[in-house]
Amino acid sequence: MQIDKRASFGVFVSISLGLCVAQAANADNGLNALSDMFSYNGFGTVGIARSDTDQAAWIQNIQTYGATNNNFDYRTDSRLAVQGTVTPTQWLSGTVQALTEERYGPAMSTQLEWAFVMVKPLPDLSVRAGRMELPTFLISDTRNVGYANLWLRAPDEVYGQPIFDVYTGAAATYQREVGPYSMSIDVLSGTSISDTALAPGVQRRIIGHKMLGYSATLDRNGITIRVSRVTTDRTHEEYGITYPELSWSFDSAGVTYDRHNLVLQGEFIERRTSNPAINVNGYYFLGGYHLGKWTPYTMYSVGETIGGADGTIPFASMHVVSVGVRFDAFKNVDFKAQIEHATAYQGGTPFENQTTGFNNHGNIASFVVDFVF
């Protein structure tokens, strides 16, 4: 069902404000057994983005509409999620999360993002089953939570590659201390469906069967190192035709450092398929420094097809340099401003709907407010 986009945004803002007020009103209530068992939280972002070109739309992930110099696009970054958790016992919990954001259609839409049950048979082991986030890369599972990240938005050159955000299946996490380190091993198995637009109004459904994922994470003193691999047999449906399955894999190696006043983050990813023309490498480096409530940062991110030495495979790439600042304004609220210079070579995204004469460059200015409750 499509909802008028202005109405949808109005509802989105009203719900955000309403929940913030409700949260403030409840803040002083004492804890009791019932509120210990049920909890709700949420996160959201309200933002605008504008580019300096009208010869192409600047688009993120699977979105259909993007920023140009004709509009302040609020759909690129705005989203709202509400999450409810029930914890009847220490070893059993259930979580649902609904997320409103722009996906492939012209209006923001709401869908049940996650619904899963978690069991902890041992203190070190948790098993989840249901519909969950797909942790393809280092921060895939929290990239929508603006407040949890320093950058204004996750670099699309890396985080736009997987297509799949959520999956239905089961996952196990084994987490324990090894000397001074904290170690976590994750495995998952399931199926994923992602709806995108082939063109405005024409749906393309991408399906990942036999999805398997493995990751290992090591932490100490604010340093996190993570390596992971997700594999799947991917097919897609468009105009009523189902295409043959191809093997896809996503590999990632990432590091974060967040200690004292310094924030550093870097990641290298590979997307490999049985069609060499769409194999992609991506990476980014992020650096920031806390100066009280202000954290200026800069990021360089690249995504590019591998290309062929003999020139038979077309080469496409995108490079983005960003400079921004995060301001931790109030409890649970931050403001961020970012300017980025994006370059797309040979038709690489993020520029879509290019007109003749587009020079493959664009500058994008963005401003957001992130909140959690």
Partner: protein, 132 residues
């Protein structure tokens, strides 16, 4: 320097000395000691066998604890918990109103971990780590 300013200066100095008072991590009597790394893992959701307890966000001891134990400020620790909470992997430490409540909760539950000013330690709890 006139008297009111001198007094104000002295009170600020004393206040800062009091605020910088030694913090200790406590558990129920009989508990084994914890290392700084272990306390960090408990408080950032990387260890699930113990139950961390927090003081309110307005308490100076809370900021001092996260700074001393894991070199994180209030915004950084909130971001850490936002990551854990919004992946459905856990809930932030339970918040209690004051140090007396933390002491009572720790004394009553062998899995509970809290932090208080060293001056407030008594026989109902055991110091498992000193943060200087």
């Amino acid at each position: 320097m006139n008297k009111p300013f001198l007094l104000l200066g002295c009170s600020l100095l004393i206040a800062s000395l009091v605020r910088a008072g030694d913090l200790v991590v406590i558990m129920a009597p009989g508990s084994p000691p914890l290392s700084k790394d272990q306390v960090t893992n408990v408080y950032i959701g990387r260890r699930n066998d113990l139950k961390p307890l927090d003081l309110p966000a307005s308490a100076a001891e809370r900021d001092a604890f996260y700074k001393k134990a894991m070199a994180l400020d209030a915004a950084q620790i909130k971001a850490v918990w936002a990551r854990i909470l919004f992946t459905g992997r856990g809930q932030p430490p339970r918040e209690l109103p004051d140090e007396a409540a933390v002491k009572r909760a720790v004394a009553a539950d062998p899995k509970a971990v809290g932090y208080i000013d060293k001056a407030n330690v008594d026989s109902t709890v055991k110091v498992v780590l000193e943060l200087n």
